[in-house]
Amino acid sequence: MGFLAELPIEVRKVAARVVTPEHGGVVTFVGAVRNHHAGRSVVRLEYSAYGPMADAEFARIIAEAEVRWPARVAVEHRIGTLEVGDVAVVVVAAAAHRDAAFDACRYVIEELKRRVPIWKREHYADGSAGWVDPTAAGVSF
C-alpha cells in the first residue's frame, strides 16, 4: 500500500478507504501549502521522500494508532512540486465516536512529522530556495 501521491489528493477518496456506516465520528486533517515560512514569502515547494521507508513508516504509525484507539486511519502525502494552497497531506481517522477519531488523527499527523522520511524544499518570492529544517532555531514547526 503506497501512501505517497504524485497527483493531487482527493480527500473524499482517502476517507472512502476507512469510513464505514459504523463510524459516527470522522476527523479529517488537511495540511496545505502556506504562502509564508519564517517570515519569508513562499511561492511553491517540492516534497521528496525516501519512498520505501516512508511507506513502511506510515504503515507502522497507522498500525500503532489502530491498536491504541478503536479507529481506522487513512493517510496520503503528496510528493513533487506543489503550489500555495495545494493539499500536501490528508489524515482521516474514523471511529464509532469522536474522541477516538480526534486522538488517532492527532497521533498520526504528529508521528508523521517526527518519523516519516519526507523533505521539503521551499522556493521564495525573491527567487531563492532552501531546504526546510524544522529543528533549526527560530523556525516554527
Binding site: Y50, V89, L112, K113, R114, P117, K120, D133
Partner: protein, 85 residues
Amino acid sequence: MATSAVRIKVLLFARFAELLGSTELDLELRSPATVRTVLDTLRERSGGARLPPSPLVARNQVHAQLDTALEDGDEVAVLPPLAGG
C-alpha cells in the same frame, strides 16, 4: 570471520545528497561495522565534513542509532531533518 568485509549501500537525501554530490554509494567496511562507521567514512569524502554530528539514520528502512551494528548487504540511509506534513 573477524576480518570479513561488510558491504553496504548508503542512501543520501535532500541536503545531504547535495553535500556529498551523490544519492547512492556502495561502501565496503571492515567488520564489525556500525552506523557510526558509515558516517565516519562519509566525513572523509568531499563535502562530508559538513554532515551534522548525529543525523537521523535508518538501517534497512527502520530508524536506527549510531551504534546499530551492520551486516553484509544492509542499506543505510542518512536522513536530513524531516519536514513532512
